[in-house]
Amino acid sequence: MAQVIDVRAVVKHFGSTVALDGLDLQVEAGEVHAFLGPNGAGKTTTLRILLGLLRIDGGTVSVLGADPWADAVELHKRLAYVPGEVNLWPQLTGGEVIDLLGRLHGGLDDRRRERYIEMFELDPTKKSRSYSKGNRQKVALISALAADVPLLLLDEPTSGLDPLMDARFRECVHEFRDGGGTVLLSSHILSEAEALSDRVTIIRNGRAMESGTLADLRHLSMTKVVAVVDRVPPDLSGIPGVHTLAVDGDRVTCEADEAGIGPLMIALSAVGIRSLTSQQPTLEEVFLRHYQDGSSDG
């Protein structure tokens, strides 16, 4: 079973709102897959569909080979979920919640439990009511990581964690993957996806815009080049694939796509390069490019 999650052409309406509009999403076994999109893109809706909490209006969904709507209980034995907004019972302590969720998952290994509690520096004796958002998130993360399951679904899991805990979280996710587990995490924090994921699906307005490895996606984007040259060649703007050219004295700044980068280098080296920096685009830039038009929705 290579495909752990297979979502095809899924449609979901809430009244007149179209939350998912023919979404495709494939997650393979053993990968960390980031599900990226701006607020309101449909990430949470998708995760709730994968859990069988919401019913689809069209398309097909399969998770670990099962239909989540029909086989929710069996499926949930093999996955754990961390909601985007973790709401816990205010009168229960963090420790009580972890044990409750562990028991519902069919038992909890005490050593794993203690390990993750220590790792995330959680005080399990405090009432959930007095936890901050980040601490509630930790409770859910600890429960999910301590449950011995092959699939984790995480909805913006680090939005309340401080940088140190964020680093611990990354460690845990990689360790989980190296142990053979599969992770789907939604995010609109690009650095998180960059640091964590093997593959990315970008969603916008309920549709997948792009899917692939980070390398695949970079491939689609531009390389930013800044060069200081002896003499500015006159015909740079004529090279196909070179964009946003700016010349300031002997300083040339531009962006080049895959077709343009080779000819650009030839043209520049012909006139003598004194210094050159080229930058791989961050995921941020890939992202911006996809959403720069109409990013205000949601």
Binding site: L51, L53, V73, Y81, N87, L92, T93, I98, P124
Partner: protein, 529 residues
Amino acid sequence: MADSFAGTWTLTRLALRRDRILLPAWILGFAGMAGFSASATVGLYPDESQRVAAAEAVNAAGALVALYGRIYDPTSLGELSLFKLTAFGAALTAVLMVFVVIRHTRADEETGRLELMAAGRLGRSAPLAAALLVAFGASLVLAVLSALALIAAGLAVPGSFAFGFGWGFTGIAFAAVAGVCAQVTTGARSARGIALLTIAVSYAVRAVGDLAEGSWLSWLSPIGWMQQVRAYAGDRWWVLLLPIALAIVCVPLAFALRARRDLDAGLIGDRPGPARGRMGGVWGLAWRLQRGVFIAWCLGFAAFGLLLGSISDTVTGFLDSPQMQEFLMQLGGTQALADAFLATELSFAGIIVAAYGIAAASRLHTEEVDGHAEVLLSTPTSRVRWAVSHTMLALLGVAAILLIGGLTIGIGNALAMGDAGGIGGLLWAALARVPAAWVLTGVVLLVFGWLPRWVPAVWAVFVVALVIGEFGPLWDLPQWLMDVSPFVHSPRLPAVDSSNAGLVPLVVVTVALVTAGLLGWRRRDLQAH
């Protein structure tokens, strides 16, 4: 100082907007109930001798005095019209105001809504001030509208205002009490619980006080004050100063407590709890969430049961004029008077306990909108199993609480009469009230399954059923309307001529409602929170 109230006006408008349907509906309900009762009684007892007889019948019946209070002037039409609503209506007004105040203070704080707003320019006292303003305003509107409804029904003008303001000022007093409670605990549920407990205790204190005529105990209870205003029987206006005095003490206290604490903190702090949990799963969790309220109800019913049981013998040796018989018939009595009063008490208990069933089953709804269900249902927990856990606790809780009521009434009765022979019959009589209360639990399930946003509206169904059951015979409502209320179909045990024919249909209806609700729940989306 003024800074700490910054934003009060904005919050007041926000609160009024959020309550724009519920609050007017409740207020009109109160005014309508008062007006309806009055106009029905005016037609029923046109001449004074009939009224005197009926009033003396009420005063002679310990059970009625304990449940509703005394009639101070037997010739007064207003008092006879409203004796069931004086203390009871004041308590309901108090409950409404407690809900309003907690909803806009501690509940908002607990859910973090206030934190969001506090980031804007908002004084720390503003939410409390806004909640109190809304509750006080609502109480005054309720007072005036009720008075006008009573006047329209044909009752005396001064008495009507005394009565209306008696209700309204009781509302103000308990709104202020709720303002204090909201500072004490960190949970909205427990704050509300404490405030409601003060109402229950006030009600019980006045019940004991009223039984011994003229006892000082009645003066200890803010609900007793409403009765001591003696609307339509002398209109003692000065008594209205007492609830205002209570508010004048409580309001500054609430603000002082608020000024001393941080957002989210309480006077009773959160102590650390166990690091390990012992809950056995879905059922254990449901029990953990429900048990506090359940135990409080059991204790309340036990206390009231002992009280009512021990006075039921005062009913015997009763006057036997035909008017009185007729009046008691309208109250649901039969010839066997002691039994009739026990039956009245148990019917009352059966209606009140339905509120427990509604609240307990509504946990499904609050768990869903609070986002707890999402956490739970993403584990290998089936939807139905989870829904059944809370539903069963609601149904079993209703039965247990009623049985405790029946048992303690029986024990009280046995202690007073020196004869324990009636306990078995009273237990059975209490059990016979269970199915009617269950129907409302079933209604919660049905609405939860199919129209989840409307679960809180089941409380309106409850009030309608309560009003029909309590006042239907008095108002001479048409039979088809009476039949809508499940309580009307409960056997009137232990009165001898009662019929058990309604029990099976009530159980069948409950099962049907729960099943239909579960079917809807299985096939609908989880609600977003």
